[in-house]
């Protein structure tokens, strides 16, 4: 299990433990937000560092 998966699992378990204290909707919303935060962290790690140059250099000829 990777570090990320382990963290994800812990978060999931933590979220599960708190379900009794909050309403179902709030839990679902929190979970979605936590998932999105994890996803954004992960994408931050692989996203091209120099976005400006990366985007500028991507030039295609038309096709079809």
């Amino acid at each position: 299990m990777s570090e990320r998966e382990r963290i994800q699992k812990q978060r999931t378990e933590r979220a599960a433990e708190t379900t009794e204290e909050v309403s179902v909707d709030a839990t679902k919303g929190d979970q979605l937000k936590a998932d999105l935060d994890d996803l954004l962290d992960e994408i931050d790690e692989v996203l091209e560092e120099n976005a400006e140059e990366f985007v500028r250099n991507y030039v295609q000829k038309g096709g079809e």
């Binding site: 999105l36 692989v46 996203l47 091209e48 400006e52 295609q60 000829k61 038309g62």
Partner: protein, 511 residues
């Protein structure tokens, strides 16, 4: 399957029934890097890298690429010599697909498939083939020359390249009916199958300065009907190249789709379109929603409307949103399946899944987008874009957001954002690996792919509707395959199994 066989039985077509929706997708991949940054050179390197790792290179045969050719197969097999293209890399794969350089892009044209799920599998196999080609190519290049590939449709600077779907339809279906029935679908389906795009890149769209659009392709469409694919792109393309018996078949060439990273989106795109075409063949266009009065305005306006509430006026004076169109079209497809079972599109279970997924995506994009972020590309992409905007307080046109858009489509596992957003997988890896090498069993692609795998040294060229053999002596021999539903595993596997050589195969076909 083989026109010269005396026992060849034609599939009969009754007057008002739909025909099997043989289908497939061709995708031009975006390409960057490579020696000299020349996209044509880089594309050739990609195609050759993959072709040369196989046992042989079999060229594409350009005969039959012209719509005026006698497509009925009533020709002497030796009456015309195949023309072999040698300038740009162009090859036929053992899975029945074509891999080649088109303009300045590597392109994968999937084999002809029998159902939307199968065509989705072969589209995903195409991604895997490109990924493998990329790996082989980059192993032989310096690090600073490394090539990257993107399964997308535009560079954000006004240059677009295509993802085209093909569907087999009856030749006797009035083309005006096709326009009337399918334009509403092609302008509105982007709300469920659009791949999403940050910003705009054509003059008219830039003026409106949208932060995000549902579709990569929508803003590039300028006409309702036409023959062009590169300029003045039409919503309905009229290219009439059936690659089959032109008396019976038409190949509807759909150029308005986005390249999807979501497998479910590809499946729903193909499934919904195939069901609607079948419904049209069966009972005409009356039950379809009316055409928007200005289809070009509709497709562009819908792309920029993230609320999905904007409406356009239709020929019946009613106003409809993209969602309204899709909802009505879903009911057309649903009622067609209730009446007929829909077996010309796929088995009962598959057809039910098409309707169910289409419905879920449609309701999800309106009522609960988080619930469909695992299946709708534009929703998945927008979620990340908006997340980054909030986290780093970025303006709507920040380069970081455009980078996310681009990198969503990166084929490399190390960089792909699509592989990280949790998209639902419907094509198991083991099936994808099989589909990289083996053809689908239920169309003529089976015979093509098997011939390429079994007799590579004796095949000089192949194309959609024939395979050309060179037995070493005598003239080249062309085996025509004018019916996409012949040449299947059921019809030819025994023949192929018992023919150890190409000579034996041709002799058996002559009997």
């Amino acid at each position: 399957m083989v026109a010269r066989s005396s026992t060849w039985v034609r599939v009969s077509i009754s007057n008002s029934s739909a025909i099997a929706k043989v289908l497939g997708i061709e995708t031009e991949y975006g390409i960057a890097g490579g020696p000299d940054y020349d996209p044509i050179t880089s594309s050739s390197i990609i195609v050759n890298a993959y072709a040369q790792q196989g046992r042989t290179r079999i060229n594409w045969d350009f005969d039959g690429e012209t719509p005026d050719m006698d497509a009925r197969g009533r020709v002497d097999l030796t009456s015309f010599a195949p023309v072999v293209e040698t300038h740009l890399a162009n090859t036929v794969l053992t899975n029945g697909a074509r891999l080649y350089v088109d303009h300045a892009h590597p392109e994968y044209s999937s084999p002809e498939c029998r159902t939307p799920l199968e065509a989705t599998l072969y589209d995903v196999a195409g991604e895997e083939i490109m990924r493998r080609a990329l790996g082989i190519a980059n192993d032989s290049l310096d690090v600073h020359q490394a090539i990257t590939l993107y399964k997308n449709n535009s560079d954000g600077k006004g240059n677009s390249y295509g993802t085209h779907e093909n569907y087999l339809v009856r030749r006797d279906l009035d083309f005006a009916y096709l326009i009337r029935a399918m334009v509403p679908h092609f302008v509105s389906r982007q709300i469920v199958v659009g791949a999403g795009k940050v910003g705009a890149e054509t003059e008219a769209a830039i003026e409106k300065s949208p932060p995000f659009q549902l579709s990569q392709r929508a803003e590039f469409f300028e006409e309702v009907v036409g023959l062009e694919t590169t300029l003045k792109r039409p919503i309905i393309n009229t290219r009439d190249e059936p690659h089959s018996d032109a008396e019976r078949f038409r190949r509807l060439h759909v150029i308005i789709g986005d390249a999807n990273m979501s497998q479910v989106a590809t499946f729903v795109k193909l499934g919904s379109t195939a069901l609607l075409l079948a419904a049209l063949e069966e009972s005409g266009p009356e039950s379809f929603p009316a055409m928007p009065r200005s289809p070009v305005h509709a497709v562009r306006a819908f792309a920029m409307d993230l609320s999905l509430r904007e409406t356009v006026v239709c020929d019946d004076e009613r106003s409809r949103s993209a969602w309204d169109f899709q909802n009505e079209l879903w009911h057309v497809a649903h009622s067609y399946v209730e009446r007929t079972g829909g077996e010309v599109v796929g088995g009962a279970e598959e057809v039910a899944t098409i309707l169910q997924q289409w419905r879920e995506l449609l309701d999800g994009v309106r009522d609960d987008r988080d619930a469909v972020a695992d299946r709708v590309d534009w929703v998945a992409k927008l979620r990340v874009v908006e997340g980054f905007q909030r986290r780093y307080e970025l303006g709507p046109h920040d380069a970081k957001l455009r980078a996310i858009d681009l990198q969503y489509h990166d084929l490399r596992a190390s960089h792909s954002l699509a592989q990280r957003v949790g998209l639902r997988v419907i094509c198991p890896e083991v099936e994808v690996r099989e589909a990289v090498h083996n053809p689908p069993p239920s169309t003529r692609a089976y015979f093509r792919g098997q011939c390429v795998a079994r007799y590579p040294e004796q095949i000089v060229a192949a194309n959609w509707d024939s395979v050309v053999f060179d037995l070493g002596e005598g003239p080249l021999q062309r085996v025509p395959m004018l019916d996409p539903l012949r040449g299947t595993h059921a019809l030819t596997s025994e023949l192929l199994e018992t023919s150890a050589t190409a000579s034996e195969l041709l002799a058996a076909l002559d009997r």
